[in-house]
């Protein structure tokens, strides 16, 4: 950006402002509540971690909800049972998630494509099974509760609105950090690795270590969101961290646009809106329908987006603004960018 410091300030101030504006919007729409907004923000934070791992570093992770769960459970156990300060517990959760993810990344660094996907899927499921079985620690299937409000000094985040604004603030911070990363040395290394491991290695990038780092980074995003989630719902159980939540994050990232940091918030907004909208509207049109169309909708959305809008909503919007700018003569016509057929080595 050519503008000095007030350019980015305007941008991020604007993004935060949009978040604030969503509150009256939610009040206006009959099927959207402020509670939905909280979920929207939290899912966006977690999905952004996934976007970094998948869209930028070119890895696959079908077990992302496990890290969301690590943050949630760590916060739950440390604040309710050991009376830790919420921020410390959140940090502890992030560290745990990072370590676990780094371990995962280190172990699976040789796998690519489908095999990596399967391995992360298996990992997520193993985590789910362990949490369910380890009754003494996690409360097993019943889960664990008694999580106190998130309180920082005088501020108590005990309403939907306050929690939402906090989460949205964390989201904006996460967006800034992600954009900063991508326009820097380590960020470029990440993207390079995602594009061609062989070429990245030939410029001195330690691919195995970079994979570890990006998995850890994605896990931290998910874990922070999970910690906030625990403070919000005050009760955590394994159901929120199994396969379906992992797939939900996948849908959010993909529908929003996996190659853009804006994909996560966009995708989250769309998914939440659609889910709530469907739940509200479908029973009105189809008598006797229960509204449990969520799963089917996820699948169909995924397939349709990938077939017809592979870069997701963010990509689609970027293409539209590009066309618009060209049409207005504002920008020079760029040569069309062909999609590179992926070169699979080994």
């Amino acid at each position: 950006m050519g503008l000095r410091w007030w350019g980015p300030l305007a941008l991020w101030g604007g993004v935060f402002g949009i978040g604030v504006l969503l509150v009256p919007l939610a009040d206006a729409l009959p099927f959207l509540t402020r509670a939905n907004l909280v979920v929207l923000a939290l899912h966006a934070i977690a999905a952004m971690g996934l976007t970094l791992v998948m869209g930028f570093a070119g890895q696959v992770s079908l077990g992302h909800a496990a890290f969301y769960g690590v943050g949630a459970y760590t916060t739950a156990l440390l604040t309710s049972k050991a009376e830790w300060h919420p921020l410390l517990a959140m940090a502890a959760g992030a560290v745990m998630a990072a370590v676990l993810a780094a371990l995962l990344g280190r172990i699976v660094f040789r796998l690519r494509g489908h095999f990596l996907a399967m391995a992360t899927l298996a990992f997520g499921l193993v985590f789910y099974v362990v949490v369910r079985s380890w009754d003494s620690l996690t409360g097993g299937n019943q889960g664990t509760g008694g999580i106190p409000d998130l309180a920082l000094g005088r501020l108590r985040f005990d309403t939907d609105t306050s929690m939402y604004l906090l989460a949205w603030g964390v989201l904006v911070a996460g967006l800034i950090a992600a954009r900063n990363l991508l326009a820097s040395r380590p960020g470029r290394a990440l993207v390079a690795m995602g594009a061609s491991e062989v070429a990245a290695a030939s410029t001195g990038i330690d691919v195995a270590r970079t994979k570890m780092v990006v998995f850890a980074l994605g896990a931290v995003y998910a874990s922070l969101a999970g910690s906030l989630y625990a403070h919000y719902v005050k009760y955590v159980s394994p159901e929120s961290f199994g396969l379906l939540p992992s797939l939900r994050f996948l849908v959010i990232s993909t529908v929003g646009g996996i190659e853009s940091v804006w994909g996560a918030p966009l995708g989250s907004a769309v998914v939440v809106l659609l889910t709530e909208g469907m739940r509200e509207l479908i029973p009105k049109f189809v008598s006797g329908a229960t509204g449990s169309y969520e799963i089917l909708a996820y699948g169909v959305a995924l397939v349709l987006v990938l077939l017809f809008l592979p870069r997701g909503l963010a990509g689609g919007i970027a293409a539209l603004t590009q066309r618009g700018a060209e049409w207005l003569g504002a920008r020079q016509r760029r040569a069309p960018v062909p999609t590179l057929e992926e070169v699979e080595l080994r």
């Binding site: 990363l181 390079a192 070429a199 001195g204 980074l217 070169v343």
Partner: protein
């Protein structure tokens, strides 16, 4: 002590001996060409030197240091850069970004410093910009610096990959068929560029099929056939070697 010393390298794929006790050296200021019929093992040798493949036997030394079996990123950090036969560009990255990635081994900004925009990030970005500007002009890529590399014509893409390798400020440059797919004129330009690079002090080792480039712009030629070095010497000498001619019989001279 030579800059690069390859000693009796052996590579085996199942029952096939791809490289059989291959030895060669490379020196700064010299362009060494590696030629031979298809399947002779030339790319395999480059893969061994650059760490992509571990040899079954033999040693590779860089500036006296044994780097045999080192992983590619460690080899790269010592100053060996390479290009690839089948272009390995980075997706949608711009030309400049490719060169910036090349500076990885010369910079140190960490993840945290980058995300929090600490001073080291800004300092290194400034230096990197300056360095890449210079390199872009040198390669004639300044006018397409902000374009996605994938959208450029093939010849320019090859230059980008070369630029990425040069951005690492290597001591040894490995080029795998840098003129493949280029016209005669473009190939000659590449050849001249290689000469210039060598005279700047770089050691250049290239795998090449374009005989004009080999004969006009290299100082030393090593001929590989079926994994064995069958001849080596100055271009003119190798050109008239009967064994070399026989190896190429049936192969159309480029």
């Amino acid at each position: 002590m030579s800059l690069l010393q390859v000693e009796n390298v052996v590579v085996q794929f199942g029952g096939l001996r791809a490289l059989d006790k291959v030895s060669l050296i490379a020196e700064p200021g010299r362009v060494t060409a590696l030629i031979g019929p298809n399947g002779a093992g030339k790319t395999t040798l480059l893969n061994v030197i650059s760490g992509l493949m571990r040899p079954l036997g033999g040693r590779v030394y860089l500036q006296g240091r044994d780097i045999t079996g080192w992983p590619p990123h460690r080899v790269a950090r010592l100053g060996i850069a390479r290009t690839f036969q089948n272009l390995q560009l980075f997706g949608q990255m711009t030309v400049r970004e490719h060169l910036l990635v090349g500076r990885y081994r010369l910079t140190h900004t960490s993840l945290l410093e980058a995300m929090l925009r600490l001073p080291r990030h800004f300092r290194e970005e400034r230096e990197a910009r300056a360095a890449t500007d210079a390199l872009l002009s040198r390669l004639g890529l300044a006018d397409v610096a902000e374009w996605p590399a994938a959208s450029l014509p093939y010849g320019k893409q090859r230059l980008v990959e070369l630029g990425r390798a040069l951005a690492t400020e290597p001591v040894l440059l490995l080029l795998d068929e840098p003129t493949a797919g280029l016209s005669g004129a473009e190939a000659a330009e590449v050849g001249q560029m290689l000469r210039r690079l060598a005279s700047d002090g770089l050691a250049v080792l290239l795998v090449e099929h374009h005989m004009d480039v080999v004969m006009s712009h290299s100082d030393w030629v090593v001929v590989l056939d079926h994994g064995v070095v069958i001849a080596q010497g100055p271009p003119a000498q190798v050109q008239s070697d009967p064994q070399v001619i026989e190896a190429y019989l049936g192969e159309e001279a480029a």
